[in-house]
């Protein structure tokens, strides 16, 4: 949500700055900044979380890496950050500097992204660099080629935790666990999903990942909630997800705001004071009116009284 707002704000900036961009200069990155090293390893986990951050913060302008589907901004369009050209020319430190400083329509992320997040994005981008194959190899760890990938869930209601197992069948016909894959554990709420995956939702060498379900999350009357568990990144094995109703929430009697007496309620649920005021006013005023009408009848009689 916060990031959506950031993106919208960034889009506004585009319009504001697009005028001044007309005479934009090239980037000037100090050579000391260029030498800065990425302190994070190109593990599958880091790449995966880098991708997440990229999708939220950068994709709206830069498009998908290597796809060259960026926003056609004028006068300088955002670079395809996965293109070999760009990756060859830029050191990690250089990208880091540019992301921090921004230029023209490119917003500054100095304050809006943590250092770790920025390095994760850079790790992710670097995974497209063909010259760094050896690293990428490291990144795409050990998982053998598999078919028939399966996602199995196990729920422990007493401990309030749940685990997922990701496995596939190798060429030799053996079912093995898939390692280092990020999973998302999502709980359906009124508007969209709540991510309860926690800090480290990556499968271990057996293909297992376990998460602790929050202790205070309201469910329905029986404490049931709708869960959706999925492999975060469709790029690995395609869309893989499993929906399940689990009894892990706190049993909660739903409050229908229409059930209470309120200004927004139905007529039957109008606040007492407003009913009393209305009915009282109508009855009060109309009794006086009827009283006067009734008095009118007396008028002809008063004429004869005179005689």
């Amino acid at each position: 949500m916060k990031n959506t707002i950031k993106n919208i704000a960034a889009l506004f900036l585009i319009f504001i700055f697009s005028g001044s961009l007309a005479n934009a200069q090239g980037w000037s990155v100090p050579s000391s900044a260029k030498k800065k090293q990425n302190p994070y390893e190109a593990t599958a986990k880091n790449i995966s979380s880098g991708k997440k951050i990229y999708n939220l913060n950068c994709k709206s302008c830069h498009g998908d890496p290597t796809m060259a589907n960026m926003l056609p901004l004028a006068p300088v369009a955002p670079t395809d950050l996965g293109s070999q050209n760009f990756l060859v020319q830029s050191s990690d430190g250089e990208i880091y500097y540019k992301v921090n400083k921004g230029q023209g329509a490119m917003p500054t992320f100095e304050k809006t992204l943590s250092d770790e997040d920025k390095w994760m994005v850079i790790t992710f981008l670097r995974s497209f660099d063909k010259n760094k194959k050896e690293r990428q190899q490291v990144a795409e760890i050990k998982n053998p080629e598999v078919t028939d990938v399966k996602l199995e869930l196990k729920v422990n209601e007493a401990e309030k935790n749940m685990s997922a197992k990701l496995s596939g069948v190798t060429k030799t016909g053996k079912r093995v666990g898939l390692q280092g894959i990020e999973m998302s554990f999502l709980v359906k709420r009124s508007f969209g999903f709540l991510d309860v995956s926690g800090e480290d939702p990556y499968t271990n060498e057996k293909g297992d990942v376990q998460i602790q379900f929050p202790k205070d999350l309201p469910g329905d009357r029986e404490g049931q909630v709708n869960m959706l568990v999925k492999v975060t990144d469709d790029a690995f094995y395609g869309k893989l997800e499993e929906a399940r109703v689990v009894t892990l929430g706190v049993p909660t009697d739903p409050v229908n705001p229409l059930d209470e007496r309120a200004m927004w309620g139905t007529r039957a649920n109008a606040p007492i004071w407003i009913i009393v005021t209305f009915v009282g006013g109508v009855v009060g005023i109309w009794s006086v009116i009827f009283l006067v009408l009734f008095q009118m009848i007396k008028l002809p009689k008063l004429a004869s009284k005179q005689d």
């Binding site: 200004m263 109008a270 009913i275 009116i289 006067v292 008028l299 004429a303």
Partner: protein, 446 residues
């Protein structure tokens, strides 16, 4: 009254008052022609309404953004004008201000006509007028709509009573004097005069009833326009979301009502030859009253626009800029200048408070009041807080269609028709009260 010394001239004068006031009701050639004209207008415009009824509200310019258009602006205007009944015959009446005697009935006639048609305008604005009773059957106490319908019906009833009750002695005179009247009218006078022969008991009894209603109509009158303002102020919208809307509307209503009364006074004075009754004094006093209420309204306007204009809150700013120097500037400033500020300046001078000049000024004030309502209702609707995405072009503008204009003309013609008919069957200047205020003996035969 009965114990006053009998004088020959004064008895004659009472005859003269009766003759002066009753004569034009039956011997006014132009009046019938005028009524025929109004009925013709109503019939033609009725055709427009028929089309709207047949084809639905799509024939109007109203769309999802502007769902309250010309009709509601007109409704607010009518309600505003009708408030003059409460101002003149009740507030000033209770204060025993004597110069209102000859014009209080005109004020009451205006009130009845405008509030009756105001209620009708709401029905005209409905796509399914056959469901109007649902407002009562299913209405929510929390909704200003239910309050509005209730309070308008109540105001209409009390205004009608305040028209008829003080007229009872005059009706008794009509019964005797209007020998040429049709049998139906005679019957009407007979019934409505309730056997009144001005005995002291009857006099006392009648005035007690009238005073009760005069007090009663003050809260109802305040309520009718406050509730109407709450139809707007109870919603969260730029330009309507303000706390002073109730008193603001009431103040504006006094302006519109006073102006309408002055115009009506002028036409009755000229057409019914009532120069001896609706005198320069009444115009002079009404002019001063108009200045007073205009000043109050000006003060409210200052609050209503200067304070938000100083802050220019997001949302308000678009609305206010459109009013101050955007699309609505001409309408906004002409209603403020021609309809309020310039009239105040002119009416300070006595020579502008003579009948003809003040009538012309009042025409401007009344027209300004009408456009002011239009500027209150429509621009706000064009700037919703949550705009519709990919909104069709015709949602973001509003121009009333010929149908809407015709139906609005119909409502005006109807108001004029009601005023005309009421002034044809009832004496527009109170005969007995006028005589009493001049210390002339009143004699009503049984």
């Amino acid at each position: 009254m009965n114990d006053l010394p009998k004088q020959k001239e004064t008895t004659l004068s009472f005859e003269k008052i009766k003759k002066d006031i009753l004569h034009p009701m039956q011997n006014h050639k132009g009046l019938e022609l005028w009524i025929v004209f109004l009925i013709a207008v109503i019939s033609v415009c009725g055709w427009a309404y028929y089309i709207q009824l047949k084809d639905g509200l799509g024939v109007t310019g109203m769309r999802d953004y502007v769902s309250w258009g010309l009709y509601i602006a007109n409704f607010v205007f009518f309600v505003a004008v009708s408030l003059v009944g409460m101002l003149i015959s009740s507030i000033l009446g209770l204060l025993r201000i004597d110069w209102i005697t000859p014009i209080s009935r005109i004020a009451e006639i205006i009130a009845v006509a405008f509030v009756a048609v105001a209620g009708l305008v709401i029905v005209l604005d409905m796509g399914r007028p056959d469901r109007v009773l649902n407002v009562m059957i299913h209405g929510r106490f929390q909704s200003p709509i239910l309050w509005d319908v209730t309070v308008i019906t109540t105001y209409l009833t009390v205004s009608a009573l305040l028209l008829i009750l003080p007229m009872i002695p005059d009706l008794a005179i009509c019964k005797k004097e209007l020998t040429k009247a049709s049998p139906i009218m005679k019957k009407l006078y007979n019934i409505l005069s309730l056997g009144y022969i001005n005995t002291p008991e009857q006099h006392k009894h009648l005035h007690k009833m009238i005073r009760t209603l005069m007090v009663l109509i003050v809260p109802i009158g305040l309520a009718i326009h406050t509730v109407t303002s709450w139809l707007f102020a109870a919603t969260l919208r730029n330009g309507w979301d303000t706390t002073i809307f109730g008193p603001y509307f009431v103040a504006g209503a006094f302006v519109a009502g006073a102006a309408a009364l002055i115009i009506a006074m002028y036409f009755f004075r000229v057409n019914y030859k009532l120069q001896d009754y609706i005198t320069d004094l009444q115009f002079d006093k009404m002019g001063k009253l108009l200045v007073a209420v205009c000043l109050v309204y000006l003060y409210f306007n200052l609050n209503e626009f200067l304070v938000p204009g100083y802050k220019m809150k997001t949302g308000d700013d678009v609305h206010l800029k459109e009013l101050f120097y955007g699309h609505w500037a001409i309408m906004f400033w002409s209603s403020q200048l021609l309809g309020n500020i310039i009239p105040i300046i002119l009416l300070v001078y006595k020579k502008f408070r003579k009948p003809l000049p003040i009538m012309i000024i009042s025409l401007f004030v009344l027209a300004g009041a009408w456009f002011k309502r239009y500027v209150i209702v429509i621009p706000t609707l064009l700037h919703p807080h949550l705009p519709i995405q990919n909104v069709p072009e015709n949602f973001v503008h509003y121009y009333p269609t010929a149908i809407e204009v015709s139906v609005t003309v119909l409502s005006f013609a109807l108001v004029l028709l009601i005023i005309t008919v009421l002034s044809k069957i009832f004496p527009v200047v109170p005969i007995v009260e006028t005589a009493e205020s001049k210390g002339i003996e009143v004699k009503i035969d049984a």
